[in-house]
């Protein structure tokens, strides 16, 4: 498998953070090409051809989303970059923004051009304030060089780009909560439809895209959508940043060509370098805390016995009974010493803490799950609690305004499905469970 790096080829070069270094390594060519040689729709067409899918987690085809932007009124259109990155296990966008901020800015300019956007915002989680300063400096440099502002590179196209901090709320990564937050309100998700592409920021047509998604656009413009589509495997085209963490030898962010076997990703020295301390692999959460956990026997092989690959299709093979999801690429590895009950409790506490509180199944259900799991973990669990937990998660799933509810339910369901014996053990061994 070739080791093509679309985003991270130059990331270790210190000069790449500044505009001169970025240009020296081929930066801003896509802006030149798009603005001077292409029509906006041609840019969208290339993105469609590339098969690029949203890297925020849902994997929705980017070109298709762009073509949904409503053009039937004369309201301004907006492009929002989702840099909220708060899904536990996910720390990939941070790397791009910190090390190679101009890639995001270039992507934002080219994408805004395609969408007919005159003002764009990067919404970044408030805790990343030091990165906000890096981005602001890069934006200032881009204005000074004429890549932003009025009549970019002497063309008729003008764009303003701003960066906006959040205030510490996981839910603001959900695109409609992000929009509410950017409007200066609490981050309460809206009911979809209408999708933001029709009615988003201040009621105007709006596209929300993840940092990594936007950063792919310059390559697609430079090399063509088809070239991008030829990388990867099947409908999982291109490369993906995977942020690997947990009990592995080499935690970090890796750009992989989609289709790499999970086994290779975990054990080869090029990526995770195997399980720390030579221990056994117990479980894997492949796509951020919201996706189902996989037990050892379903990690490197699917239920059908085929090698499991790092792709949207292969990771979800078997559906929830035996599969999971690629999600945001937050790859969390558990060794044999880790307690699934404790981890499930920890995640439930997270979801309870982060629920915006609008829907009762989510607000109350996450609290219930946290409470039940807490008592199991601390040696006060009852056998009936396992079924009760199952019942609570099932009543949340599908009954809420936004998918946060599902995201809180799925990890619990999968933990019970694959590790029921561990829950039972906690009930039967209360003294050891509290250890």
């Amino acid at each position: 498998m070739s080791r093509l790096k679309i985003l991270t080829e130059h990331i270790d070069k210190p000069e790449i953070t500044g505009i001169e270094g970025y240009i020296k390594h081929g930066g801003y060519r896509a802006v030149e090409k798009a603005l001077k040689k292409m029509q906006p729709d041609e840019v969208t067409e290339e993105v469609k051809k590339s098969g690029l899918r949203g890297r925020g987690g849902a994997g929705f085809p980017t070109g298709m989303k762009w073509s949904f932007i409503f053009k039937g009124n004369d309201k301004p259109r907006y492009l929002l970059c989702n840099a909220d990155e708060s899904e536990p296990g996910t720390f990939k966008d941070r790397l791009l923004m910190e090390k190679i901020p101009h890639l995001l800015i270039e992507g934002m300019i080219a994408s805004s051009f395609a969408l007919g956007v005159k003002t764009a915002y990067i919404y970044i989680r408030g805790e990343y304030m030091y990165i906000l300063h890096i981005l602001q400096k890069a934006i200032d440099e881009a204005y000074a060089k004429g890549y932003l502002g009025e009549n970019i590179l002497g063309t008729t196209y003008s764009l303003d780009l701003h960066v906006h901090p959040g205030g510490g709320a996981y839910i603001c990564g959900e695109e409609t909560a992000l929009i509410e937050s950017l409007e200066g309100k609490r981050g309460n998700p809206r009911i979809k439809p209408p999708f933001p592409a029709v009615e988003g920021l201040w009621g105007c047509p709006t596209i929300v895209n993840n940092v990594e998604t936007i950063c792919k656009v310059p390559f697609i413009i430079n090399e063509g959508g088809e070239t991008y589509a030829n990388i990867g495997i099947g409908a999982s085209t291109g490369t993906k940043l995977i942020s690997a963490c947990g009990n592995i030898n080499k935690p970090g962010v890796y750009e992989i060509e989609l289709g790499v076997p999970v086994e290779e990703f975990i054990y080869s020295d090029e990526y995770c370098g195997g399980i720390k301390g030579g221990k056994q692999l117990k479980a894997l959460v492949p796509g951020g805390s919201s996706v189902p956990i996989l037990p050892n026997r379903l990690i490197t092989k699917t239920a059908k016995g085929e090698p499991r690959l790092m792709s949207y299709e292969s990771l979800s093979d078997g559906g929830f009974p035996t599969g999971s999801m690629l999600g945001s690429g937050g790859f969390i590895v558990f060794d044999e010493d880790q307690c699934i009950v404790r981890n499930t409790w920890n995640f439930s506490r997270f979801y309870h803490h982060e629920s915006c509180g609008q829907c009762s199944p989510c607000r109350e259900g996450t609290g219930w799950m946290e409470k039940i799991l807490h008592r199991m973990e601390y040696g006060h669990g009852r056998m009936e609690d396992i079924d009760l937990l199952w019942d609570v998660q099932r009543k949340i799933e599908g009954n809420t305004i936004c998918p946060f509810g599902d995201a809180s339910a799925w990890p619990v369901a999968a933990a019970i499905r694959h590790f029921r014996d561990e829950f039972e053990w906690h009930v039967l061994h209360p003294a050891e469970a509290t250890r």
Binding site: P76, E85, S86, E87, P88, G89, T90, F91, D93, R94, T119, Y121, R125, G126, E127, Y128, M129, Y130, D160, H162, H164, P165, G166, G167, G168, A169, Y170, S181, L182, E183, G184, K185, R186, G187, W202, S243, A244, C245, G246, N247, P251, G252, V253, S289, G330, I332, F334, Q338, R342, N343, N346, F347, F350, H353, E354
Partner: protein
């Protein structure tokens, strides 16, 4: 602890606020609420009701609109905090690599519990949810800075550094 008696931005800050407001279309100045609350917390230490009222007046919006927002987002301290707020991540991936022990060690060393402030006003411990550093845990954020791969020795060094900073004028 910083007392919030004189709640007014400096002229430089007010100029910064004016620049922020220009980023949003006319009539949408409410959007600047989060960036301004961040500046206010930097200058006044925490977000008291007086600070919220001041922000509301700057933005020419109802006071309650600021209360609603300031209480929703976890980064805003609604009570006074120590000079250094040690925000330790406690979420799953960090727990897998030992964040529980880091919290315990800090609590022991500073003789305070999660959420409390040392009597000298130097430190507050606050456990927080995932900060996007999951591969580099255990970790904590202090001010804008991320401190990663924490160990007991590293914590000792960091606390010493914060103490020394505090004695410098």
């Amino acid at each position: 602890m910083i007392e919030t008696t004189n709640i007014t931005f400096s002229p430089e800050r007010l100029a910064e606020v004016q620049t922020l407001l220009k980023r949003y279309p006319e009539g949408k100045q409410k959007s600047a609420i989060l960036p301004i609350l961040h500046l206010a917390q930097k200058d006044f230490g925490w977000i008291s009701v007086e600070v919220m009222d001041y922000v509301a007046e700057l933005l020419d919006i109802q006071h309650i609109e600021v209360y609603e927002v300031a209480t929703f987002y976890t980064m805003f301290h609604l009570k006074p905090v120590g000079k250094n707020v040690l925000e330790v991540c406690r979420t799953g991936p960090c727990m897998l690599v030992g964040s529980d022990n880091i919290v315990k060690y800090l609590e022991q060393k500073l003789s305070i519990q999660d959420g409390e402030t040392t009597p000298d006003g130097l430190f507050t411990i606050k456990t927080v949810e995932c900060l996007g550093a999951c591969g580099y845990g255990p970790m904590m954020q202090v001010g804008e800075k991320y401190h990663e791969f924490l160990s007991e020795e590293r914590i000792d060094q960091l606390l010493e550094g914060f103490r020394q900073n505090a004695t410098q004028p």
